[in-house]
């Protein structure tokens, strides 16, 4: 498989990368891990005129906690997220389920977030935990809440001249737990269905914050806001989670395809929501 002709710019700094993108315009694409972009080019479904390689930019690879947040740099690979001690809850649970080991070694968390593939894992996880996408353009840096960042399938609200430089994910201060349950046909496959759950508990053991989001069953990664609202203020229980699962199943709009029927996918959403919330609650209670 041979891609069409393209120019390559190797940026040494964020400033250079952003400038190159401004020069290249619509036909420019940033290259980090390249685990989605390069196959798309080889299959000739993507034809960028210019690739702007950001891999040599220093200082973009960190995964660290600062000011109550987990900060993930644009060059942090999925495999590094898997290995990191700084992660928590649903982030830690989801990391090993992203693609396969080969893709995780090269692919980046920020690249996956920016790609906005509705079958991608990270955007659901971030919708559940909450996160800001940090973008840099010619006029400086800005933070975009993840719910406002995702614009549609494969589209974000990122400006044409902006580069995602990192993610800022709030770290819960009290007891918390999370889960990411993913049904995939084999390692490396996109999710057939996946459910991200995030729960925080107050001193009484009641749920003080809840996040629930679905992968691969809607046109975009979808936050189940009514289920989250239902959960907050309640004591964790099997009945409560079953009720939340019904709301999640109702929020899913799956389609029949080669992976399975819509009815079955909705059933998996129901089951994985119940199981995911139970796992999150158990983790929170033990934390």
């Amino acid at each position: 498989m041979f891609p069409a002709r393209f120019d390559l710019v190797v940026a040494q700094s964020v400033g250079e990368a952003v400038e190159a993108k401004a020069d290249a315009g619509e036909g420019g694409r940033f290259l980090a891990g390249g685990q989605s972009l390069i196959p798309m080019m080889k299959m000739r479904v993507a034809f960028p005129d210019t690739l702007i390689d950001i891999n040599r930019i220093a200082g973009l690879g960190a995964i660290e906690r600062a000011n109550g947040h987990l900060q993930v740099g644009a060059l942090a690979r999925h495999a590094e997220v898997v290995a990191s001690d700084a992660t928590f809850g649903a982030i830690a649970a989801a990391a090993p389920w992203v693609a396969d080991p080969l893709v995780r070694n090269r692919g980046t968390m920020c690249g996956s977030v920016a790609h906005c593939d509705p079958e991608g894992d990270w955007n659901s996880v971030l919708l559940a935990t909450g996160a800001d996408v940090v973008a840099q353009g010619p006029n400086g840096e800005r933070s975009i809440p993840i719910a406002g960042f995702i614009d549609g399938a494969f589209t974000s609200t990122l400006g044409e001249d902006e580069l995602v430089v990192g993610l800022r994910i709030p770290v819960p201060s009290g007891r918390s737990g999370g889960a990411y349950l993913k049904l995939e046909r084999k390692v490396g496959d996109y999710a057939t269905v996946a459910v991200a759950s995030h729960l925080e508990l107050d001193d009484s053991g009641a749920i003080s914050a809840a996040g629930l989001a679905l992968t691969s069953v809607n046109p975009i990664n979808t936050k189940v806001a009514d289920a989250e609202a239902l959960l907050v203020g309640q004591q964790p229980s099997e009945e409560l989670f079953a009720e939340a699962a019904e709301l999640a199943a109702a929020a899913a709009e799956p389609r029949d395809d080669v992976r399975g029927s819509a009815a079955w996918k909705r059933q998996v959403v129901r089951t994985y929501t119940k199981r995911g919330l139970a796992a999150a609650a158990q983790q929170a209670e033990g934390s």
Binding site: R5, V258, W264, Y272
Partner: protein, 783 residues
């Protein structure tokens, strides 16, 4: 298992000699097709139809031809001028090389660009304008055979419908009689879905035709280089002495590299016309959408049984989806391969098999993906049927099989469809596997689990294969008898070279065939070089597929080694000044009967063959054998799978997989086990996740490894391997061939296990792949 008769340093039969080929392959020193880089090589890219069915009103290649670096755009019209727009298939049909009139499936070859590099060739494809007039696509064989369905093969003289073939065997009258006596008839209708061998290395060619001498050196990913040479000569009209096919290291074949594909023909024609080497290496998508698929059988099986669980007869109706051209690679006499081995491991007198195939707007092929000509489909059907019959009669599925097995003393056993099984002990095999898995305890656990709402299933498959085609009286492909050959040359220093008509694609021939020679002559296996794949330098043969290398090529190797052993004994007698008949050979030492201290080695004899011979004997120590097997060989096995099904999602997990194989004598037990693990993995893949399917417009779903799933180590279950060893009575070393047993036998075991978990709900069938949504739907429907 019989103990080896040679010491480890000789490494004859029964030693797990390390694979000689691995060092080179692991260290990146293999030589695959794409590694071949001749001076002035041009590169070919193929334009393929985006539509499943359309008339071609015109092709404008002028813009593509005008691009820098493009030498030519080859179309069907140009091929037609040389009589090569169509080519014969291995099943007596014709297949378009480049489409002239219509495209008949998505991915069909329409034009080819020859350019100075592969990037330019690919770029140029986007500049070829094809004027397609869309026609309604036919995507199922049922639809295809309906009254009034559009005629797919309108170019074929006398073809008035979409029927590709019909074929019938067995005794209809006797079968009807058996059914009349039955207490009940157990019916199973199931689809063995279309799959693809998907070798890691795709297909490719470097065609190098010398315009002055006419010498055509064709490097090609070929499982059957000699047969391909002859077919090239017949189809292209090239003199056969001028054709040399070189099949280099092959990264997996599994049947996919048996046919001749249009790309090979176009590349060779282009090299002939341009006078430079032309290279074409398929992309993954090209391989998956256009080259030989496998299976796609819609089967209805009916088993006549008594209330005691005794099988009286079998009736099978089968409809195959052939795609646009009937191009199965199979022996001429058999229109649905060896599907009639569907009577399986059971002793009953009557069977009737009625097969037909239909053309559809899908890729042609019908290769046997790691199976001996449609045996996989047959084995799957009978093992699913027998399992279901046990539920209907109300006896245990293991007991059902034990009551109906062909007994050890019945061999050689002639089946109701005419196979003569050579040897076996089925009850011992199944009982050994049942003991290993702890069958009775498992049945108890299953009952306890059910009471708790958990679903555990135990699936059994006891398969019998028919491999090693085959005897010349019955088996030929395109008229070429399915014999095979070995040429053995022992050098003066006692080292040897063995040349084979068969061709490895990873099976380990360079090791195992050397071990056969080591066993007979006592030359260490590591002192024997095995050469294959180059038709100028190896004797004729039909190639490696259908588990035929060991049964046919391995037999030839044993026979040629024995010929040299006979000559060697005479030389030894001369050196030892003894009578020929007093010489005994063991592990490379020739000694005089009764005086073991009087001896010479095979190395002494080899030197003498070129230096010191008895009066009147011809110099040298070499010979060639062409082996015509007296019968097929019949490997078998008992597989047992334990699964747990999640009732909420339909997801099933394999808890245990016990696989007992009997492939007769094992030349290299380690390699045999490797073959079995690979085959079990592929069998698991087909049962759980792997299929090529199409939407209603005929678009192929499964055109890359995102959609066509090949399991990794993560999802592949752990296998527990067992063996028994009943030798083949007619094979020179008692071996039967094992490359395909596990792919043939295992899918039914996996599927039966899932069905067994749901059997109490009344579930009797879920088509492969047994996807979780199908399982969940089956549970939902039943309850």
């Amino acid at each position: 298992m019989a103990a080896p008769t040679t010491p480890a340093e000789i490494g004859g039969i029964g030693h797990s000699v390390q694979r000689k080929e691995d060092a080179r392959l692991i260290e990146g020193q293999g030589n695959f097709l794409d590694d071949i880089d001749l001076p002035s090589t041009l590169h070919m890219a193929i334009l393929r139809s985006p539509l499943a069915h359309a008339r071609i009103n015109g092709i404008d290649s002028s813009a593509a031809t005008a691009l820098d670096g493009v030498l030519a755009v080859v179309t069907g019209d140009l091929m037609d001028q040389h009589g090569l727009a169509w080519m014969p298939t291995l099943s007596g049909d014709t297949q378009a090389v480049l489409a002239t009139d219509k495209v008949r499936y998505q991915g069909q070859e329409v034009a080819a660009v020859i350019a100075t590099d592969p990037y330019i060739a690919t770029d140029a494809l986007e500049h070829i304008e094809v004027d397609y007039e869309e026609l309604p696509p036919i995507t199922t064989p049922q639809q295809s055979l309906e009254e009034g369905a559009a005629l797919i093969r309108d170019e074929k003289e006398g073809q008035t419908d979409n029927l590709a073939y019909t074929w019938e065997t067995g005794d209809q009258g006797a079968t009807e009689e058996a059914f009349a006596q039955a207490d009940r008839v157990v019916t199973l209708e199931t689809h063995y879905p279309r799959s693809h061998p998907a070798p890691l290395e795709t297909c490719g060619i470097v065609a190098d035709v010398n315009s002055v001498t006419g010498q055509a050196t064709i490097y090609m990913t070929s499982q059957a280089p000699h047969a391909h040479r002859t077919l090239f000569a017949m189809v292209a009209g090239l003199p056969e002495q001028n054709i040399r096919i070189v099949s280099p290291d092959i990264g997996g074949g599994f049947g996919n590299k048996v046919p001749i594909y249009p790309g090979y023909v176009v590349a060779t024609a282009a090299s002939l016309l341009i006078g430079q080497p032309v290279k074409w290496v398929e992309s993954r998508t090209e391989n998956l959408i256009s080259t030989g698929f496998a299976r796609d059988y819609y089967m209805k099986g009916e088993l006549a049984v008594t209330d005691e669980g005794r099988i009286l007869g079998l009736r099978v109706n089968m409809l195959s989806d052939q795609g646009a051209f009937y191009s199965d690679a199979q022996p001429t006499q058999f229109r649905a391969g060896l599907f009639h081995v569907v009577t399986g491991s059971y002793d009953f007198g009557a069977a009737h098999i009625d097969c037909k195939g239909a053309f559809t707007n899908k890729a042609p092929g019908g290769v046997a993906y790691r199976c001996s000509f449609r045996i996989t489909e047959a084995s799957y059907l009978i093992e699913r049927l027998v399992q279901n019959a046990a539920y209907e009669v109300g006896i245990d599925p293991a007991e059902m099989r034990l009551r109906n097995f062909i007994q050890p003393e019945q061999f050689p056993y002639e089946t109701a469809t005419g196979f003569v099984y050579d040897s076996g002990d089925y009850p011992t095999a199944l009982r050994t596997a049942l003991d290993e898995v702890g069958y009775e305890d498992l049945r108890r656990e299953q009952a306890e689990a059910r009471a708790e709402g958990r679903l555990i299933g135990i699936g059994i498959a006891h398969f019998t294969e028919a491999v090693g085609a085959g005897p010349s009286r019955t088996y030929d492909i395109a008229g070429l008898k399915m014999i095979d050959s070995a040429e053995l040359r022992v050098h003066p220093t006692g080292k040897a070279i063995l040349k084979l008509g068969v061709k490895t694609q990873g099976q380990g021939h360079e090791t195992t065939f050397a071990q056969i020679v080591a066993e007979v002559l006592g030359i260490p296996a590591n002192d024997i070089k095995v050469e294959h794949g180059d038709t100028d330098h190896t004797p004729y043969g039909l190639g490696t597929y259908a588990s035929r290398s060991t049964p046919v090529g391995g037999a030839a190797t044993a026979v040629v080694a024995r010929k040299l052993a006979d000559k060697s004994k005479k030389i030894a007698a001369h050196l030892l000044e003894a009578a020929d008949e007093d010489i005994e050979l063991a592990s490379g030492v020739f000694s005089v009967a009764g005086s073991p201290d009087r001896s010479v080695t095979i190395q002494d004899v080899a030197l003498a063959a070129y230096t010191n011979l008895p009066e009147g004997m011809e110099y040298g120590l070499e010979d060639v054998t062409y082996y015509d097997p007296p019968n097929l060989t019949y490997p078998y096995g008992s597989y047992i799978v334990v699964v747990e099904v999640d009732p909420d999602t339909g997801v099933w997990q394999v808890q245990r997989m016990v696989a007992l194989d009997d492939c007769g004598v094992r030349i290299n037990p380690m390699i045999v086990e490797g073959q079995i693990c690979g085959g079990l993995t592929e069998g698991f893949a087909m049962s759980a996740m792997q299929w090529i399917t199409f939407d209603d417009d005929g678009n192929c779903i499964g055109a890359n490894f995102m959609d066509y799933l090949v399991p990794t180590a993560w999802e592949t279950p752990r296998f527990e391997l067992l063996a028994t060893e009943v030798p083949s009575p007619h094979h020179p070393i008692g071996a039967k061939g094992v490359g395909e047993s596990a792919t043939v036998g295992s899918p039914a075991a996996f599927v039966n296990a899932v069905i067994d978990a749901l059997a109490h709900l009344g579930v009797r069938n879920i088509d492969m792949p047994v996807l979780p949504d199908r399982v969940w739907a089956a549970i939902d429907e039943a309850s």
